[in-house]
């Protein structure tokens, strides 16, 4: 039986859930070690830094950390076998993240807005790296 993570309870928590999924994807992509691995490594380092900052901000804001799913077992992460399809998935994740973080930054508190905006700008640069 599979257990499902509790639904996100705030905008920040929603971003954390999505970031966790994307980190899992790109970590699995790095483990695949295909021709794009150097680009995936670069992206993984940034996305892990984002996760750390988001978790710190969640703690600062008094959010419930107990509902946040842990990093997945890389071997169990479902990613495409084909390198081109995997690249498309990681690129799509970056696009989704840019949209989500941009939208959230527009209405967040000033401190959170700066954090979310920097992450949005970073994932936009990932799209450039993956183009």
């Amino acid at each position: 039986m599979t257990t499902q993570a509790a639904p996100p309870t705030s905008v920040l928590m929603g971003l954390i859930f999505k970031a966790r999924l994307h980190v899992d994807h790109v970590a699995a992509a790095v483990a695949r070690n295909d021709e794009n691995v150097d680009r995936y490594r670069m992206i993984l380092a940034d996305r892990e830094a984002h996760m750390t900052a988001l978790l710190e901000e969640n703690a600062r804001a008094g959010g419930d950390a107990s509902v946040i799913p842990p990093a997945a077992d890389i071997a169990q992460v479902d990613i495409p076998d084909e390198a081109a399809e995997l690249l498309a998935l990681i690129r799509d994740d970056a696009g989704q993240a840019q949209t989500n973080f941009t939208d959230a930054a527009l209405s967040a508190t000033p401190y959170q807005a700066q954090l979310l905006a920097a992450i949005a700008a970073c994932v936009a640069s990932h799209r450039a790296v993956l183009a």
Binding site: A53, T102, A105, P110, Q114, A117, A120, S125, H126
Partner: protein
């Protein structure tokens, strides 16, 4: 977009200062890109495009300032460089520094206002800087092309 821009910040002076910091950064960018072209002619096509980007950003921030009832800072005749530019590599580093400085200025606006329209303009500008930084890191042959929090770090040559 809000007509009362100065009122969009808890402290209107903070927003005006942030907008003028971006204005100043854009003036520097437009001046310094002239040097980049001189020392790295192979990058001329990108420089032309990026100068167009920064001209547009300068006009955006000037408009925001005027609508806030503030006076945009004027460009200086010339600027001191943070390091000597003598060859393509140092010109590329200057370009990276320009973009990083502009990113920092636009990032500052996001924290200085609650107006979502101004934030959207600033975030769009920050994103553009972040993408142009990838271009300059590619020119430099950097191993790492991105940074996790653009607008919050300083480039060192």
């Amino acid at each position: 977009m809000s007509q009362d821009i100065a009122a969009a910040a808890p402290d209107g002076d903070t927003l005006i200062a942030a907008l003028n910091a971006a204005m100043a950064a854009e003036h520097v960018a437009l001046w310094a890109y002239g040097l980049v072209t001189a020392f790295d002619p192979d990058a001329a096509t990108d420089v032309t495009a990026f100068v167009g980007n920064h001209q547009a950003l300068r006009n955006v921030v000037a408009d925001l300032l005027v609508r806030a009832g503030a006076v945009p800072v004027s460009p200086e005749p010339a600027y001191d460089l943070p390091f000597e530019v003598t060859d393509p590599h140092s010109a590329q580093t200057l370009a990276l520094t320009i973009e990083s400085d502009c990113a920092g200025a636009w990032h500052g606006i996001i924290g200085a206002t609650t107006d979502s329209d101004i934030r959207a303009e600033a975030l769009s500008a920050l994103t553009g800087c972040s993408i142009r930084m990838v271009t300059w890191r590619r020119y430099r042959g950097d191993t790492s092309l991105t940074e996790p929090f653009p607008g919050t770090t300083t480039i060192t040559p």
